[in-house]
């Protein structure tokens, strides 16, 4: 296996009852790479990304992340691995009983060995990075969709992970917010060398962030390559997807 590969999924199968969601997925992501998994609704994208962080266990196959075999890890070892992985949820998943400050402090408080003033400095710095320092005392319910995503992104990076997984990072956002969130993802890759796996069906987002695109259809990866190549692929499912997405974007 390539030494640079830090996420590797080998022949992953997953079923829920009689429904086969993933059917033999193979996916390698190299250090510093920004991989994007695209596909229509119900193609298994969210299920796929959840395997990487151990939220869902595969029925068959192996997953290696940062040289550790996920399915063999005990609870404490899994937690240790998770500290190297940030996760941006589709809904943001901010804790709604906490302010923005508390959402970020909650993670630092438990996992970072920082003094109180160092932790506060890091929160201010991270909020400035997502251009929302004024929202520090707000509750998630007081934020717009785009602001929630940016705060959730701030929370995903606050522990300085090596990998970030993005579950539909721009779904439901207006084009300005899509660009803003996508630019932040690119900056994470360029400035901090963070490896990322994003699942999305948003062409604009994929265009901005993707090094490699993996097209998922009915639990199988149909094609892998740069976005401009994938979008010209002649498989009917891919052609239909890019055709309808382009119409929507226009």
């Amino acid at each position: 296996m390539d030494q640079n590969v830090i996420i590797s999924l080998d022949n992953i199968h997953k079923s829920f009852g009689s429904l086969d969601v993933l059917r033999g997925i193979n996916l390698d992501v190299s250090k510093g790479e920004s991989a994007v998994v695209m596909g229509g609704s119900g193609s298994g994208k969210s299920v796929l990304i959840k395997h990487i962080v151990g939220l869902i266990k595969a029925d068959q196959g192996t997953i290696r992340v940062l040289d550790k075999q996920v399915e063999e890890l005990g609870e404490d070892e899994m937690d240790e691995l998770r500290l190297s992985i940030g996760y941006l949820f589709q809904s943001g998943a901010l804790f709604d009983s906490m302010t923005v400050f508390e959402n970020l402090m909650f993670f630092l408080d438990r996992h970072a060995e920082l003094t109180s003033s160092e932790a506060k400095d890091r929160i201010v710095e991270t909020l400035e990075w997502v251009s929302l320092p004024e929202k520090v005392g707000h509750y998630p319910a007081e934020l717009s969709g785009g602001q929630k995503k940016r705060i959730a992104l701030a929370r995903a990076v606050i522990l300085e992970p090596k990998i970030i997984l993005y579950d539909e990072p721009t779904t439901g956002l207006d084009p300005v917010s899509v660009r803003m969130v996508s630019d932040l993802i690119v900056r994470l890759q360029e400035d901090r060398g963070i490896t990322s796996v994003a699942i999305t069906h948003d062409l604009l987002c994929a265009e901005i962030i993707a090094d490699q695109v993996h097209f998922l259809h009915h639990g199988e990866i149909l094609a892998t390559g740069p976005l401009n190549e994938i979008s010209q692929h002649d498989h009917p499912a891919i052609a239909t997807f890019f055709g309808s997405e382009t119409i929507q974007q226009n």
Binding site: K50, V53, L55, M78, D79, E80, R82, L83, I85, Y87, F89, Q90, S91, A93, L94, F95, D96, S97, F106, F107, R110, H111, L159
Partner: protein
């Protein structure tokens, strides 16, 4: 339930969250349980007085009131009132955290949601139910005294000495202590139903409703078992 007993001894111990939950369960329930206690005490005294007067036994009213409140009515009514308030609250809170992926967010941040959400809430219920029961019992006895004062001008020293003369310390311990079990039931049932929600807001609402119903029924059933057991062990109805 098995997971609770397996994990409650293991780190991390979420002390701050436990205190926050004790405040949520306890401090914020004092008014509700206090009003409940006052109403129970006054109504019981009013209802019993007529019958006791007819048999010339009005003097035993304080004693009858204290025994009924401390041994049975106080613990069960307090637990049922708290099941309504907390069962719905915990079920809906955890259920909505589940459907909005907040529990997954705790999991992927290595924050052990079971410890943070379940153990703290169940322990808070187990600790605060007996305290709130003692509070409700006290207010109920006080309510009975107010009624006696207004109806017959009874002196408070006579009321207190009559009320507690045949009450044993073990009665208070066993009958108040059983509410820790009721607290466990409310906590574990509500957390379980919240954690297993699938779907959206409708299912969250249903899980909150089921948490109240399930907790209330189990409290009544468990009460019967505990009373039977305490009769066998202590020779006194628990």
């Amino acid at each position: 339930m098995g997971q609770f007993f397996a994990r409650v001894w293991r780190k991390p111990f979420e002390g701050r969250e436990l205190l926050r939950q004790m405040d949520e369960v306890g401090t914020k329930s004092f008014v509700l349980t206090g009003i409940t206690g006052l109403a129970i005490g006054i109504v019981m005294a009013m209802q019993s007085r007529g019958t006791l007067v007819r048999f010339g036994a009005e003097a035993v009213l304080p004693n009858m009131l204290a025994l009924s409140v401390i041994k049975e009515i106080g613990p069960v009514i307090t637990a049922l009132v708290l099941a309504g308030r907390l069962g719905a609250g915990i079920g809906a809170e955890i259920g909505s955290m589940k459907v909005t992926e907040q529990i997954d967010a705790l999991e992927v941040a290595a924050l052990k949601p079971f410890h943070f959400l379940v153990i703290t809430r169940v322990l808070a219920c187990m600790i605060m139910f007996p305290i709130l029961t003692l509070w409700t019992d006290s207010i109920a006895v006080f309510g009975g005294y107010i009624e006696s004062l207004m109806a017959s001008g009874m002196d408070y020293r006579i009321f207190i000495s009559t009320a507690f003369e045949s009450l044993r310390f073990s009665d208070v311990i066993v009958d108040t202590g059983k509410t820790a079990v009721f607290g466990f039931i409310v906590g574990i049932v509500s957390c379980h139903l919240g954690f297993t929600v699938r779907g959206g807001t409708r299912e969250v609402g249903q899980s909150a409703m089921r948490a109240v119903m399930g907790s209330s029924l189990l409290i009544l059933l468990t009460d019967v078992i505990i009373v039977r057991l305490s009769l066998m062990i202590f020779g006194t109805a628990g």
